[in-house]
Symmetry: C2
Subunit: 317 residues, 2 copies
């Protein structure tokens, strides 16, 4: 199959995920045409997953596709935006129809789960690389930025951290169970870290609920300490994390959970007076620290300062 | 320099190209926020350039950056859209500050030339890959689609074809002159093919002027015959090209010009009654053929059918 036949095959598998809701023109022309609701602004981000860096090259294609969409849509959740569509640029070493079919199934399942359409894409030959641009909308004043944290704010995080990082050291990372099995795993299940790694769950509903509540937000991709660091740098403040309050996946250490990346939970700040609003959010959240005047992020364990060996993943580090 | 320092450096070089006109929030948060004019729809496309496939890995970084933007913005021109912004995903084997600085200069120069902002991006480590998603707007009914060509329409093309393809066989493809020198080359200059290859000129003004005039349009990226083939397939018609009417770069053969890619001129169709409108367009255009009932594209030279050896580049072909 050549490039154009493979693209047709991909679009066929994506089925209803390339049309409907706002998509006036989907894949197949020079560009897509999408309606953005009046009174909102376009929210856009782009992310790349490189084989051998962001996922094992031999990992199941279905999980790679699913993960690529989850990682990308998470950026919209962190802005409090409503997801609309993605553009998918796939670079493949060879035109394996089997690989591409499995990949497309993973993308389609993730698109359905996260409520995004696949409006367009690109297919090229080269080292395996999946780049997804993701697009949504939000009323301009409602967007959750990194820059709004103020001294006195509480630092919060959703869900359980550490699962995805725990997956990285597993012997079965390259040959995990299929998506359906992983999606059925609860936190106490031994396979749960693989679920967290391959099938991240962008906190879209939580991001939406945090509009007008959170003073700043970010998704936990580089690692909690590093990501709170991004918020603090953008806001011109310092952050303190009380490690014993960080909710972790069973079997993880709080230290690993605070520095490991890829959890795609939301880390956000709220004014102390808004604390009671945490009870009515659509996801479990924990208060894990505080914003203070200054710069940088410090971590404490039961009040004692803690020096963590590594502040999140960085390329070229 | 690590990832975040390199990103800061890149944003610094981009300077005014990351802000202004519609960009409410540029690089540095989880996503960008951009205003889309009321009454228009979002026009979006994504393109990848892979080192060793789409450009020589050793080519000057400035030219790679410039070319990546040109190739992408051309998709907006082909839709008759006004360019707004790009998202830039760069995967680099090492964090060379020198390479990245030159690349960013090329991106900045191209962004200025084409009137797009750089609203966001991603930097990762891996085999060299430049993926650009490009975003603009157009009134929904004004967009130029591939699907509108009708039997009887005239087939037209802008500019001169064959230059970019001629560059591919040159010994100096990896070590061409710098952008400023190339931009000064006229068609009769020996360096002109390198200008066409590295510094494509998206036909934005022409695309705009073709709203309500062209029945279908595409940019010449895969090659004239292949790209007219895409239009014919989308429109359910056949195309005939009279090769002697195809305007070519001096030194090229019409055959090479008709099959070579990367020219980024516009190929479009108009109703025969609109022929006089070709004189008032903001670019030189030639009538090179006709749309007929049927399927596929045939090529004639002075009335005689011609069989071309290759119908445009395709991956995994």
């Amino acid at each position: 199959m050549d490039e154009f036949q493979l693209i047709d095959r991909l679009i066929g598998i994506l089925g209803d995920e390339v049309r409907g809701r706002g998509i006036l023109l989907g894949p197949g022309d020079d560009a897509s045409l999408v309606e953005i609701p009046v009174g909102t602004v376009a929210v856009s981000s782009i992310d790349t997953l490189v084989a051998g860096v962001h996922f094992p090259a031999a990992a199941p294609a279905e999980l790679i596709g699913h993960r690529a969409l989850g990682v990308s849509v998470s950026d919209l959740a962190a802005m409090g935006a409503d997801p609309d569509y993605v553009l998918l640029a796939l670079t493949l070493p060879d035109g394996s129809e089997q690989w591409l079919t499995a990949f497309a199934r993973g993308v389609a399942a993730a698109a359905r789960r996260f409520g995004v359409k696949v409006a367009g894409g690109n297919l090229a030959q080269g080292p395996l690389n999946v780049t997804v641009s993701v697009h949504g909308h939000v009323a301009a004043g409602d967007a959750l930025l990194r820059s709004g944290a103020r001294a006195g704010d509480l630092v919060c995080v959703s869900g359980l951290l550490g699962g995805a990082a725990a997956a990285l050291s597993r012997a079965d990372l390259e040959h995990p169970a299929n998506a359906a099995t992983l999606l059925g795993c609860a936190p106490e299940d031994p396979l749960y870290p693989l679920r967290r790694y391959y099938l991240p769950e962008p906190q879209i509903a939580l991001g939406r609920a945090l509009r007008g509540v959170a003073t700043a937000a970010i998704d936990v991709s580089d690692g909690l300490v590093a990501d709170l660091g991004h918020v603090c740098r953008a806001s011109g403040v310092a952050g303190v994390i009380d490690l014993e309050n960080v909710p972790i996946v069973p079997g993880c250490t709080p230290q690993a959970a605070a520095t490991g990346g890829d959890d795609y939970e939301l880390c956000f700040t709220i004014a102390p007076g808004d604390r009671k609003q945490l009870n009515s959010l659509p996801a479990a959240v924990a208060v894990i620290g505080r914003i203070e005047p200054g710069t940088g992020v410090s971590v404490r364990l039961k009040g004692e300062p803690l020096s963590l060996s590594r502040g999140g993943f960085r390329h070229f580090g």
